[in-house]
Protein backbone atom coordinates (compact mmCIF):
# COMPACT_ATOMS: atom_id res chain seq x y z
CA UNK A 1 0.00 0.00 0.00
CA UNK A 2 1.49 3.33 -0.96
CA UNK A 3 1.38 6.07 1.58
CA UNK A 4 0.22 9.46 0.43
CA UNK A 5 2.35 12.59 0.52
CA UNK A 6 0.48 14.05 3.51
CA UNK A 7 1.12 10.84 5.46
CA UNK A 8 4.84 11.16 4.75
CA UNK A 9 4.87 14.78 5.90
CA UNK A 10 3.03 13.82 9.07
CA UNK A 11 5.53 11.05 9.80
CA UNK A 12 8.39 13.45 9.26
CA UNK A 13 6.93 15.92 11.73
CA UNK A 14 6.29 13.15 14.28
CA UNK A 15 9.88 11.91 14.11
CA UNK A 16 11.26 15.42 14.54
CA UNK A 17 8.99 16.12 17.53
CA UNK A 18 9.84 12.80 19.21
CA UNK A 19 13.56 13.33 18.74
CA UNK A 20 13.17 16.80 20.25
CA UNK A 21 11.21 15.43 23.23
CA UNK A 22 13.72 12.64 23.87
CA UNK A 23 16.54 15.18 23.66
CA UNK A 24 15.08 17.70 26.11
CA UNK A 25 14.30 14.84 28.51
CA UNK A 26 17.76 13.36 28.29
CA UNK A 27 19.90 16.47 28.14
CA UNK A 28 19.38 17.88 31.68
CA UNK A 29 20.45 14.55 33.20
CA UNK A 30 23.40 14.17 30.89
CA UNK A 31 24.55 17.77 31.36
CA UNK A 32 24.36 17.41 35.14
CA UNK A 33 26.36 14.22 34.97
CA UNK A 34 28.95 15.97 32.81
CA UNK A 35 29.17 18.95 35.19
CA UNK A 36 29.56 16.60 38.14
CA UNK A 37 32.67 15.18 36.46
CA UNK A 38 34.04 18.55 35.38
CA UNK A 39 36.34 20.87 37.27
CA UNK A 40 34.13 23.37 39.11
CA UNK A 41 35.93 26.60 38.22
CA UNK A 42 36.15 25.43 34.62
CA UNK A 43 32.38 24.83 34.53
CA UNK A 44 31.83 28.38 35.75
CA UNK A 45 33.45 29.67 32.53
CA UNK A 46 30.51 28.21 30.61
CA UNK A 47 30.29 26.06 27.54
CA UNK A 48 30.33 22.67 29.27
CA UNK A 49 27.54 20.81 27.52
CA UNK A 50 27.90 17.26 26.20
CA UNK A 51 31.34 16.27 27.39
CA UNK A 52 33.55 17.19 30.39
CA UNK A 53 36.20 19.70 29.35
CA UNK A 54 38.40 19.28 32.36
CA UNK A 55 37.65 15.82 33.71
CA UNK A 56 37.96 15.25 37.46
CA UNK A 57 36.79 12.96 40.26
CA UNK A 58 37.34 15.79 42.73
CA UNK A 59 33.63 16.61 43.19
CA UNK A 60 32.73 13.01 44.01
CA UNK A 61 35.77 12.73 46.26
CA UNK A 62 34.46 15.56 48.39
CA UNK A 63 30.88 14.28 48.38
CA UNK A 64 31.92 10.79 49.45
CA UNK A 65 34.17 12.19 52.19
CA UNK A 66 31.27 14.11 53.71
CA UNK A 67 29.97 12.29 56.78
CA UNK A 68 26.55 13.94 56.64
CA UNK A 69 25.95 12.73 53.14
CA UNK A 70 27.11 9.23 53.95
CA UNK A 71 24.81 9.08 56.98
CA UNK A 72 21.87 10.47 55.02
CA UNK A 73 22.52 7.88 52.32
CA UNK A 74 22.45 5.08 54.87
CA UNK A 75 19.17 6.38 56.28
CA UNK A 76 17.67 6.49 52.80
CA UNK A 77 18.76 2.91 52.07
CA UNK A 78 17.54 1.63 55.43
CA UNK A 79 14.22 3.40 55.11
CA UNK A 80 13.68 2.20 51.56
CA UNK A 81 14.48 -1.46 52.31
CA UNK A 82 12.71 -1.78 55.66
CA UNK A 83 9.81 0.50 54.74
CA UNK A 84 9.11 -1.42 51.53
CA UNK A 85 9.31 -4.79 53.32
CA UNK A 86 6.96 -3.66 56.09
CA UNK A 87 4.49 -2.11 53.69
CA UNK A 88 4.41 -5.16 51.41
CA UNK A 89 4.06 -7.53 54.36
CA UNK A 90 1.11 -5.80 56.03
CA UNK A 91 -0.63 -4.71 52.84
CA UNK A 92 -0.51 -8.14 51.17
CA UNK A 93 -1.61 -9.94 54.34
CA UNK A 94 -4.46 -7.45 54.70
CA UNK A 95 -5.49 -7.99 51.09
CA UNK A 96 -5.31 -11.78 51.40
CA UNK A 97 -7.63 -11.77 54.41
CA UNK A 98 -10.09 -9.53 52.59
CA UNK A 99 -9.97 -11.67 49.44
CA UNK A 100 -11.58 -14.60 51.27
CA UNK A 101 -15.29 -15.31 50.95
CA UNK A 102 -17.58 -14.96 53.93
CA UNK A 103 -15.32 -12.73 56.04
CA UNK A 104 -17.31 -11.16 58.87
CA UNK A 105 -17.40 -7.31 58.67
CA UNK A 106 -15.81 -7.41 55.20
CA UNK A 107 -18.10 -4.67 53.90
CA UNK A 108 -17.36 -2.50 56.91
CA UNK A 109 -13.61 -2.96 56.41
CA UNK A 110 -13.88 -2.05 52.73
CA UNK A 111 -15.90 1.07 53.45
CA UNK A 112 -13.29 2.16 55.99
CA UNK A 113 -10.63 1.75 53.32
CA UNK A 114 -12.47 3.43 50.47
CA UNK A 115 -13.40 6.55 52.42
CA UNK A 116 -9.70 7.24 52.97
CA UNK A 117 -9.23 7.34 49.19
CA UNK A 118 -11.55 10.33 48.87
CA UNK A 119 -11.23 12.21 52.10
CA UNK A 120 -8.31 12.78 54.44
CA UNK A 121 -7.86 14.82 57.56
CA UNK A 122 -5.11 16.77 55.86
CA UNK A 123 -1.58 17.70 56.77
CA UNK A 124 -2.10 19.58 60.03
CA UNK A 125 -4.28 17.13 62.00
CA UNK A 126 -1.90 14.36 60.90
CA UNK A 127 1.06 16.40 62.07
CA UNK A 128 -0.59 16.97 65.46
CA UNK A 129 -1.38 13.26 65.80
CA UNK A 130 2.21 12.24 65.05
CA UNK A 131 3.47 14.86 67.48
CA UNK A 132 1.12 13.69 70.24
CA UNK A 133 2.01 10.04 69.64
CA UNK A 134 5.65 11.02 70.15
CA UNK A 135 6.54 9.70 66.74
CA UNK A 136 7.87 13.12 65.78
CA UNK A 137 11.57 13.01 65.05
CA UNK A 138 11.82 9.21 65.09
CA UNK A 139 13.08 6.77 62.50
CA UNK A 140 10.13 4.51 63.34
CA UNK A 141 7.82 7.12 61.91
CA UNK A 142 9.76 7.20 58.64
CA UNK A 143 9.19 3.44 58.39
CA UNK A 144 5.49 3.33 59.18
CA UNK A 145 4.32 6.50 57.41
CA UNK A 146 1.95 5.25 54.70
CA UNK A 147 2.70 1.62 55.58
CA UNK A 148 -0.78 0.29 54.80
CA UNK A 149 -1.63 1.44 51.31
CA UNK A 150 -5.27 1.09 50.32
CA UNK A 151 -4.56 1.34 46.55
CA UNK A 152 -2.02 -1.45 46.75
CA UNK A 153 -4.33 -3.50 48.94
CA UNK A 154 -7.06 -3.39 46.29
CA UNK A 155 -4.64 -4.51 43.58
CA UNK A 156 -3.33 -7.34 45.75
CA UNK A 157 -6.88 -8.36 46.63
CA UNK A 158 -7.94 -8.57 43.00
CA UNK A 159 -4.91 -10.74 42.29
CA UNK A 160 -5.54 -13.07 45.25
CA UNK A 161 -9.24 -13.40 44.49
CA UNK A 162 -8.45 -14.70 41.02
CA UNK A 163 -6.19 -17.51 42.24
CA UNK A 164 -7.71 -20.96 41.68
CA UNK A 165 -9.14 -22.54 44.85
CA UNK A 166 -7.44 -25.86 44.16
CA UNK A 167 -4.06 -24.27 44.69
CA UNK A 168 -4.71 -23.48 48.32
CA UNK A 169 -6.54 -26.77 48.83
CA UNK A 170 -3.33 -28.65 48.09
CA UNK A 171 -1.60 -26.74 50.87
CA UNK A 172 -4.34 -27.53 53.32
CA UNK A 173 -4.11 -31.24 52.53
CA UNK A 174 -0.43 -31.00 53.42
CA UNK A 175 -1.54 -29.70 56.81
CA UNK A 176 -0.80 -25.97 56.42
CA UNK A 177 -2.68 -23.42 58.49
CA UNK A 178 -4.20 -20.45 56.68
CA UNK A 179 -1.07 -18.44 57.48
CA UNK A 180 1.01 -21.33 56.18
CA UNK A 181 -0.95 -21.37 52.93
CA UNK A 182 -0.37 -17.64 52.50
CA UNK A 183 3.37 -17.72 53.12
CA UNK A 184 4.22 -21.07 51.50
CA UNK A 185 1.87 -21.12 48.53
CA UNK A 186 0.28 -17.75 47.77
CA UNK A 187 3.25 -15.42 48.30
CA UNK A 188 5.69 -17.41 46.13
CA UNK A 189 3.36 -17.15 43.13
CA UNK A 190 2.65 -13.43 43.67
CA UNK A 191 6.08 -12.49 42.37
CA UNK A 192 5.08 -10.13 39.53
CA UNK A 193 2.48 -8.21 41.57
CA UNK A 194 4.79 -8.04 44.56
CA UNK A 195 7.65 -6.82 42.37
CA UNK A 196 5.56 -4.13 40.69
CA UNK A 197 3.98 -2.75 43.84
CA UNK A 198 7.20 -3.15 45.81
CA UNK A 199 9.13 -1.25 43.17
CA UNK A 200 6.75 1.70 43.24
CA UNK A 201 6.73 1.73 47.03
CA UNK A 202 10.52 1.63 47.10
CA UNK A 203 10.89 4.44 44.54
CA UNK A 204 8.38 6.49 46.51
CA UNK A 205 10.33 6.02 49.75
CA UNK A 206 13.65 6.69 48.06
CA UNK A 207 12.38 9.94 46.55
CA UNK A 208 10.43 11.18 49.56
CA UNK A 209 11.94 14.36 50.90
CA UNK A 210 8.81 16.07 52.24
CA UNK A 211 7.83 13.71 55.09
CA UNK A 212 11.26 13.91 56.70
CA UNK A 213 11.42 17.66 56.08
CA UNK A 214 8.31 18.12 58.23
CA UNK A 215 8.47 15.31 60.76
CA UNK A 216 12.22 15.09 61.38
CA UNK A 217 14.08 17.99 62.91
CA UNK A 218 17.21 16.08 63.91
CA UNK A 219 19.78 16.77 61.21
CA UNK A 220 21.36 13.36 61.89
CA UNK A 221 18.16 11.55 60.98
CA UNK A 222 17.26 13.08 57.63
CA UNK A 223 17.54 11.05 54.42
CA UNK A 224 19.50 12.06 51.36
CA UNK A 225 16.69 13.73 49.38
CA UNK A 226 15.91 16.04 52.28
CA UNK A 227 19.56 16.91 52.72
CA UNK A 228 19.75 17.50 48.98
CA UNK A 229 16.99 20.12 49.22
CA UNK A 230 19.07 21.96 51.79
CA UNK A 231 22.15 21.76 49.59
CA UNK A 232 20.28 22.98 46.50
CA UNK A 233 18.52 25.79 48.35
CA UNK A 234 21.71 26.91 50.03
CA UNK A 235 22.87 28.09 46.60
CA UNK A 236 25.86 30.36 46.76
CA UNK A 237 25.50 31.25 50.41
CA UNK A 238 27.94 29.27 52.46
CA UNK A 239 25.63 29.31 55.49
CA UNK A 240 24.66 25.68 55.21
CA UNK A 241 28.16 24.69 54.29
CA UNK A 242 29.15 25.18 57.89
CA UNK A 243 27.27 21.96 58.56
CA UNK A 244 29.09 20.11 55.84
CA UNK A 245 32.72 19.96 56.80
CA UNK A 246 34.39 18.72 53.69
CA UNK A 247 32.20 20.96 51.50
CA UNK A 248 33.21 23.99 53.52
CA UNK A 249 36.88 23.13 53.44
CA UNK A 250 36.95 22.54 49.73
CA UNK A 251 35.04 25.75 49.05
CA UNK A 252 37.50 27.68 51.15
CA UNK A 253 40.35 26.10 49.25
CA UNK A 254 38.50 27.12 46.11
CA UNK A 255 39.00 23.82 44.33
CA UNK A 256 35.34 23.25 43.56
CA UNK A 257 32.13 25.27 43.27
CA UNK A 258 28.77 24.94 44.94
CA UNK A 259 27.22 24.00 41.62
CA UNK A 260 29.64 21.16 40.97
CA UNK A 261 28.95 19.72 44.42
CA UNK A 262 25.20 20.09 43.95
CA UNK A 263 25.39 18.17 40.71
CA UNK A 264 27.53 15.41 42.17
CA UNK A 265 25.16 15.02 45.13
CA UNK A 266 22.17 15.01 42.80
CA UNK A 267 23.76 12.28 40.73
CA UNK A 268 24.46 9.97 43.65
CA UNK A 269 20.85 10.46 44.76
CA UNK A 270 19.54 9.55 41.30
CA UNK A 271 21.98 6.97 39.93
CA UNK A 272 20.56 3.97 41.86
CA UNK A 273 17.18 4.55 40.22
CA UNK A 274 18.67 5.19 36.79
CA UNK A 275 20.75 2.04 37.12
CA UNK A 276 17.95 -0.36 38.08
CA UNK A 277 15.51 1.25 35.66
CA UNK A 278 16.58 -0.46 32.38
CA UNK A 279 16.47 -3.90 34.02
CA UNK A 280 13.10 -3.43 35.65
CA UNK A 281 11.41 -1.31 32.99
CA UNK A 282 8.88 -4.10 32.46
CA UNK A 283 7.66 -3.73 36.05
CA UNK A 284 7.70 0.05 35.90
CA UNK A 285 5.43 -0.07 32.84
CA UNK A 286 3.19 -2.65 34.48
CA UNK A 287 2.89 -0.35 37.46
CA UNK A 288 1.53 2.41 35.25
CA UNK A 289 -1.20 0.07 34.07
CA UNK A 290 -2.24 -1.33 37.46
CA UNK A 291 -2.10 2.25 38.63
CA UNK A 292 -4.72 3.18 36.10
CA UNK A 293 -6.89 0.23 37.05
CA UNK A 294 -6.90 1.14 40.70
CA UNK A 295 -7.93 4.63 39.85
Amino acid sequence: MKSSRSDKIMHGIIYVLLIFLAFITFYPFWNSLVISFNNGSDTALGGVTFWPRSFTFENYNIVFKEDNIFRAYMITILRTVLGTALSMFFTSLFAYGLSKKGIVFKKFYMIICIITMYFTGGLIPYFILIYQMQLYNTFTFLLIHGMVNVFNMIIFRTFFAELPDGLEESGRIDGCSNFGVFFKIVLPISGPVMATLGLFTAVGLWNDWFTPAIFISDQNLIPLQTLLVQIINAGATASLMSNLNSYAQSLVQNTVTVKALQMATMMIATLPILMIYPFLQKFFVKGALVGSLKE
Partner: protein, 330 residues
Amino acid sequence: MKKETIPSGVPAKAYKPLGTKAPGTGVWSRFARQWDYQLMILPSIIFILIFSYIPMWGVLMAFKEYNLFEGFAASPWVGTMHFRMFFESPEFWSIVRNTFGISLLKLLIGFPAPIILALMLNEVKNIVFKSIVQTVTYIPHFISWVVVSGLVFSMLAVDNGAVNEVLVKMSLIDKPINWLSIPEYFWGILVSVGVWKEIGFGSIVYMAAIAGIDPAMYEAASIDGASKFKQIFKITIPSIAPVITIFLLLGVGNILNAGFEDILLLTKNLNNGILMPYAQTVDTYVYQMGILNQRYSYATAAGLLKSVLSVLLLYVANTISRRFGKASLW
Protein backbone atom coordinates in the same frame (compact mmCIF):
# COMPACT_ATOMS: atom_id res chain seq x y z
CA MET B 1 -35.38 -27.04 68.70
CA LYS B 2 -38.56 -27.02 66.69
CA LYS B 3 -38.07 -28.16 63.17
CA GLU B 4 -39.29 -25.62 60.63
CA THR B 5 -40.55 -26.52 57.24
CA ILE B 6 -38.92 -24.78 54.32
CA PRO B 7 -41.49 -22.79 52.33
CA SER B 8 -41.84 -23.95 48.79
CA GLY B 9 -40.22 -21.86 46.11
CA VAL B 10 -37.25 -20.89 48.26
CA PRO B 11 -34.04 -22.74 47.49
CA ALA B 12 -33.16 -24.85 50.49
CA LYS B 13 -29.64 -23.43 50.69
CA ALA B 14 -30.72 -19.79 50.75
CA TYR B 15 -33.33 -20.33 53.39
CA LYS B 16 -32.32 -19.24 56.84
CA PRO B 17 -34.75 -19.96 59.65
CA LEU B 18 -35.80 -16.84 61.46
CA GLY B 19 -35.22 -16.42 65.15
CA THR B 20 -33.07 -19.47 65.53
CA LYS B 21 -29.59 -19.39 66.92
CA ALA B 22 -28.03 -22.57 65.75
CA PRO B 23 -24.51 -22.86 67.14
CA GLY B 24 -21.90 -21.43 64.80
CA THR B 25 -24.06 -19.20 62.64
CA GLY B 26 -23.88 -16.02 64.74
CA VAL B 27 -21.58 -13.24 63.66
CA TRP B 28 -19.17 -13.66 66.53
CA SER B 29 -18.88 -17.41 66.30
CA ARG B 30 -18.20 -17.07 62.60
CA PHE B 31 -15.66 -14.40 63.53
CA ALA B 32 -14.03 -16.81 65.98
CA ARG B 33 -13.83 -19.54 63.36
CA GLN B 34 -12.08 -17.26 60.90
CA TRP B 35 -9.81 -15.79 63.55
CA ASP B 36 -6.72 -16.29 61.44
CA TYR B 37 -8.08 -14.33 58.49
CA GLN B 38 -9.30 -11.66 60.88
CA LEU B 39 -5.82 -11.54 62.39
CA MET B 40 -4.44 -10.77 58.92
CA ILE B 41 -6.92 -7.93 58.49
CA LEU B 42 -7.13 -6.28 61.88
CA PRO B 43 -3.61 -4.85 62.29
CA SER B 44 -4.07 -2.90 59.05
CA ILE B 45 -7.57 -1.78 59.96
CA ILE B 46 -6.31 -0.51 63.30
CA PHE B 47 -3.46 1.22 61.50
CA ILE B 48 -5.91 2.97 59.16
CA LEU B 49 -8.23 3.91 62.01
CA ILE B 50 -5.36 5.52 63.89
CA PHE B 51 -3.49 7.24 61.07
CA SER B 52 -6.39 8.17 58.78
CA TYR B 53 -9.46 8.42 60.97
CA ILE B 54 -8.07 10.23 64.00
CA PRO B 55 -6.87 13.05 61.71
CA MET B 56 -10.33 13.09 60.09
CA TRP B 57 -11.83 13.66 63.51
CA GLY B 58 -8.98 16.09 64.16
CA VAL B 59 -10.27 18.46 61.48
CA LEU B 60 -12.66 19.65 64.18
CA MET B 61 -9.73 21.70 65.41
CA ALA B 62 -10.63 24.05 62.57
CA PHE B 63 -13.50 25.13 64.84
CA LYS B 64 -11.27 25.46 67.89
CA GLU B 65 -8.33 27.59 68.92
CA TYR B 66 -5.93 24.69 69.10
CA ASN B 67 -3.00 24.85 71.42
CA LEU B 68 -0.35 22.18 71.04
CA PHE B 69 0.40 22.09 74.76
CA GLU B 70 -3.12 22.21 76.14
CA GLY B 71 -4.29 19.47 73.81
CA PHE B 72 -7.42 19.02 71.77
CA ALA B 73 -10.02 18.76 74.53
CA ALA B 74 -8.85 21.77 76.52
CA SER B 75 -8.72 24.11 73.53
CA PRO B 76 -11.72 26.46 73.31
CA TRP B 77 -14.31 26.30 70.55
CA VAL B 78 -14.36 29.37 68.31
CA GLY B 79 -16.98 28.40 65.70
CA THR B 80 -16.29 29.51 62.17
CA MET B 81 -13.83 32.22 63.13
CA HIS B 82 -10.89 30.68 61.26
CA PHE B 83 -12.94 30.21 58.10
CA ARG B 84 -14.01 33.87 58.19
CA MET B 85 -10.43 34.92 58.81
CA PHE B 86 -9.34 32.89 55.78
CA PHE B 87 -12.01 34.46 53.56
CA GLU B 88 -11.08 37.93 54.72
CA SER B 89 -7.32 37.46 54.55
CA PRO B 90 -5.57 39.63 51.95
CA GLU B 91 -4.12 36.50 50.29
CA PHE B 92 -7.47 34.80 49.83
CA TRP B 93 -8.28 35.89 46.29
CA SER B 94 -4.79 35.39 44.98
CA ILE B 95 -4.80 31.87 46.48
CA VAL B 96 -8.09 31.11 44.74
CA ARG B 97 -6.80 32.54 41.47
CA ASN B 98 -3.50 30.64 41.66
CA THR B 99 -5.06 27.35 42.67
CA PHE B 100 -7.59 27.36 39.84
CA GLY B 101 -5.29 29.05 37.36
CA ILE B 102 -2.41 26.62 37.80
CA SER B 103 -4.77 23.64 37.91
CA LEU B 104 -6.67 24.58 34.79
CA LEU B 105 -3.44 25.25 32.95
CA LYS B 106 -2.08 21.88 34.07
CA LEU B 107 -5.28 20.20 32.93
CA LEU B 108 -5.40 22.09 29.63
CA ILE B 109 -1.80 21.28 28.70
CA GLY B 110 -0.75 18.41 30.95
CA PHE B 111 -3.82 16.31 30.21
CA PRO B 112 -3.72 16.14 26.39
CA ALA B 113 0.10 15.99 26.21
CA PRO B 114 0.45 12.25 27.02
CA ILE B 115 -2.44 11.45 24.66
CA ILE B 116 -0.71 13.29 21.83
CA LEU B 117 2.56 11.52 22.65
CA ALA B 118 0.82 8.13 22.58
CA LEU B 119 -0.78 8.96 19.22
CA MET B 120 2.58 10.02 17.82
CA LEU B 121 4.40 6.95 19.18
CA ASN B 122 1.72 4.76 17.63
CA GLU B 123 2.64 6.07 14.19
CA VAL B 124 6.30 5.12 14.62
CA LYS B 125 7.06 1.85 12.84
CA ASN B 126 10.75 1.65 13.78
CA ILE B 127 10.69 -0.49 16.96
CA VAL B 128 14.16 0.52 18.15
CA PHE B 129 13.47 4.23 17.82
CA LYS B 130 10.10 3.83 19.50
CA SER B 131 11.48 1.97 22.50
CA ILE B 132 14.32 4.47 22.92
CA VAL B 133 11.85 7.36 23.01
CA GLN B 134 9.63 5.47 25.44
CA THR B 135 12.49 4.46 27.74
CA VAL B 136 13.87 8.00 27.88
CA THR B 137 10.56 9.78 28.41
CA TYR B 138 9.41 7.42 31.20
CA ILE B 139 12.48 8.17 33.33
CA PRO B 140 11.59 11.60 34.81
CA HIS B 141 8.49 10.13 36.49
CA PHE B 142 10.76 8.08 38.75
CA ILE B 143 13.11 10.93 39.61
CA SER B 144 12.38 12.87 42.78
CA TRP B 145 11.04 16.41 42.60
CA VAL B 146 14.14 17.44 44.51
CA VAL B 147 16.44 16.37 41.70
CA VAL B 148 14.06 17.73 39.08
CA SER B 149 14.09 21.12 40.80
CA GLY B 150 17.89 20.97 40.81
CA LEU B 151 17.84 20.29 37.07
CA VAL B 152 15.41 23.17 36.52
CA PHE B 153 17.59 25.61 38.47
CA SER B 154 20.58 24.47 36.45
CA MET B 155 18.84 24.68 33.05
CA LEU B 156 17.23 28.07 33.78
CA ALA B 157 20.32 29.60 35.39
CA VAL B 158 21.36 33.09 34.30
CA ASP B 159 25.00 32.02 34.11
CA ASN B 160 25.42 29.31 31.48
CA GLY B 161 21.88 27.97 31.84
CA ALA B 162 21.04 25.95 28.73
CA VAL B 163 17.69 27.67 28.10
CA ASN B 164 19.22 31.14 28.14
CA GLU B 165 22.19 30.07 26.02
CA VAL B 166 19.96 28.60 23.34
CA LEU B 167 17.57 31.55 23.30
CA VAL B 168 20.42 34.06 23.11
CA LYS B 169 22.08 32.09 20.29
CA MET B 170 18.80 32.05 18.40
CA SER B 171 18.55 35.82 19.04
CA LEU B 172 15.15 35.40 20.61
CA ILE B 173 16.36 37.32 23.66
CA ASP B 174 19.16 39.87 23.98
CA LYS B 175 20.56 38.86 27.31
CA PRO B 176 19.96 35.97 29.76
CA ILE B 177 16.71 36.18 31.71
CA ASN B 178 16.42 35.26 35.38
CA TRP B 179 13.36 33.13 34.73
CA LEU B 180 12.55 32.31 38.32
CA SER B 181 12.48 35.95 39.40
CA ILE B 182 9.60 36.97 37.15
CA PRO B 183 6.26 36.06 38.73
CA GLU B 184 4.36 36.13 35.42
CA TYR B 185 6.50 33.29 34.07
CA PHE B 186 6.05 31.03 37.09
CA TRP B 187 2.86 29.28 35.99
CA GLY B 188 4.38 28.56 32.61
CA ILE B 189 7.53 27.12 34.15
CA LEU B 190 5.55 25.03 36.63
CA VAL B 191 3.29 23.58 33.95
CA SER B 192 6.16 22.93 31.51
CA VAL B 193 8.20 21.12 34.13
CA GLY B 194 5.12 19.06 35.09
CA VAL B 195 4.56 18.05 31.47
CA TRP B 196 8.26 17.29 31.05
CA LYS B 197 8.18 15.00 34.09
CA GLU B 198 4.95 13.12 33.43
CA ILE B 199 4.31 13.08 29.67
CA GLY B 200 6.07 9.77 29.02
CA PHE B 201 4.71 7.86 31.97
CA GLY B 202 1.23 9.23 31.39
CA SER B 203 1.30 7.95 27.80
CA ILE B 204 1.62 4.31 28.92
CA VAL B 205 -2.09 3.81 29.63
CA TYR B 206 -3.06 5.39 26.32
CA MET B 207 -0.53 3.22 24.48
CA ALA B 208 -2.12 0.18 26.10
CA ALA B 209 -5.59 1.36 25.11
CA ILE B 210 -4.47 1.98 21.52
CA ALA B 211 -2.88 -1.49 21.39
CA GLY B 212 -6.31 -2.95 22.10
CA ILE B 213 -7.92 -1.47 18.97
CA ASP B 214 -8.87 -3.99 16.29
CA PRO B 215 -6.39 -3.59 13.37
CA ALA B 216 -9.16 -4.57 10.92
CA MET B 217 -10.67 -1.12 11.44
CA TYR B 218 -7.53 0.57 10.12
CA GLU B 219 -7.36 -1.81 7.17
CA ALA B 220 -10.94 -1.06 6.24
CA ALA B 221 -10.29 2.66 6.58
CA SER B 222 -7.21 2.65 4.37
CA ILE B 223 -9.02 0.60 1.70
CA ASP B 224 -11.61 3.37 1.76
CA GLY B 225 -8.75 5.77 1.18
CA ALA B 226 -8.70 7.49 4.57
CA SER B 227 -5.38 9.22 5.30
CA LYS B 228 -3.39 8.38 8.42
CA PHE B 229 -4.36 11.72 9.85
CA LYS B 230 -8.04 11.02 9.32
CA GLN B 231 -7.70 7.53 10.81
CA ILE B 232 -6.32 9.04 14.03
CA PHE B 233 -9.40 11.22 14.45
CA LYS B 234 -11.98 8.74 13.17
CA ILE B 235 -10.71 5.51 14.71
CA THR B 236 -7.98 5.91 17.33
CA ILE B 237 -9.36 8.76 19.38
CA PRO B 238 -12.97 7.49 19.51
CA SER B 239 -11.69 4.04 20.47
CA ILE B 240 -9.73 5.30 23.47
CA ALA B 241 -12.39 7.83 24.49
CA PRO B 242 -13.54 5.86 27.58
CA VAL B 243 -9.99 5.86 28.97
CA ILE B 244 -9.69 9.56 28.22
CA THR B 245 -12.98 10.25 30.03
CA ILE B 246 -11.89 8.41 33.18
CA PHE B 247 -8.64 10.34 33.34
CA LEU B 248 -10.37 13.61 32.62
CA LEU B 249 -12.73 12.90 35.51
CA LEU B 250 -9.80 12.27 37.82
CA GLY B 251 -8.23 15.47 36.57
CA VAL B 252 -11.33 17.47 37.38
CA GLY B 253 -11.55 15.85 40.81
CA ASN B 254 -7.95 16.91 41.38
CA ILE B 255 -8.47 20.48 40.28
CA LEU B 256 -7.81 21.83 43.78
CA ASN B 257 -4.50 19.96 43.91
CA ALA B 258 -2.72 22.63 41.93
CA GLY B 259 0.67 21.42 43.04
CA PHE B 260 2.62 21.14 46.21
CA GLU B 261 6.03 19.52 46.05
CA ASP B 262 6.83 21.20 42.77
CA ILE B 263 5.84 24.65 44.05
CA LEU B 264 7.64 24.22 47.39
CA LEU B 265 10.85 23.24 45.65
CA LEU B 266 10.77 25.72 42.79
CA THR B 267 10.13 28.60 45.22
CA LYS B 268 12.86 27.32 47.56
CA ASN B 269 10.48 26.38 50.36
CA LEU B 270 8.29 29.43 49.69
CA ASN B 271 11.27 31.72 50.35
CA ASN B 272 11.29 33.21 46.86
CA GLY B 273 9.19 36.20 47.88
CA ILE B 274 8.88 37.67 44.40
CA LEU B 275 7.17 34.55 43.11
CA MET B 276 4.79 33.99 46.00
CA PRO B 277 1.91 36.19 44.75
CA TYR B 278 1.66 33.77 41.80
CA ALA B 279 2.84 30.62 43.54
CA GLN B 280 0.71 30.43 46.69
CA THR B 281 -1.97 27.74 46.40
CA VAL B 282 -4.26 26.27 49.06
CA ASP B 283 -1.87 23.41 49.77
CA THR B 284 1.21 25.58 50.10
CA TYR B 285 -0.76 28.05 52.22
CA VAL B 286 -1.86 25.28 54.61
CA TYR B 287 1.77 24.22 54.87
CA GLN B 288 3.02 27.76 55.41
CA MET B 289 0.39 28.70 57.98
CA GLY B 290 0.30 25.35 59.78
CA ILE B 291 3.81 23.98 59.74
CA LEU B 292 5.96 27.09 59.35
CA ASN B 293 3.83 29.58 61.32
CA GLN B 294 2.22 27.03 63.64
CA ARG B 295 -1.27 28.47 63.25
CA TYR B 296 -2.71 24.98 63.42
CA SER B 297 -6.43 25.71 63.61
CA TYR B 298 -6.33 28.36 60.90
CA ALA B 299 -4.40 26.11 58.51
CA THR B 300 -6.73 23.19 59.23
CA ALA B 301 -9.71 25.37 58.36
CA ALA B 302 -8.19 26.28 54.99
CA GLY B 303 -7.31 22.63 54.35
CA LEU B 304 -10.75 21.37 55.34
CA LEU B 305 -12.43 23.80 52.99
CA LYS B 306 -10.32 22.40 50.20
CA SER B 307 -10.98 18.72 51.03
CA VAL B 308 -14.73 19.23 51.16
CA LEU B 309 -14.73 21.15 47.87
CA SER B 310 -12.58 18.44 46.27
CA VAL B 311 -14.98 15.63 47.18
CA LEU B 312 -17.86 17.74 45.93
CA LEU B 313 -16.12 18.45 42.62
CA LEU B 314 -15.35 14.79 42.02
CA TYR B 315 -18.97 13.93 42.75
CA VAL B 316 -20.28 16.56 40.34
CA ALA B 317 -17.83 15.52 37.59
CA ASN B 318 -18.82 11.90 37.98
CA THR B 319 -22.54 12.66 37.96
CA ILE B 320 -22.22 14.68 34.77
CA SER B 321 -20.22 11.94 33.09
CA ARG B 322 -22.74 9.32 34.16
CA ARG B 323 -25.63 11.36 32.81
CA PHE B 324 -24.01 11.33 29.40
CA GLY B 325 -23.70 7.57 29.60
CA LYS B 326 -19.95 7.66 29.80
CA ALA B 327 -17.53 6.07 32.21
CA SER B 328 -18.03 6.34 35.94
CA LEU B 329 -15.53 6.12 38.75
CA TRP B 330 -17.92 4.23 41.01
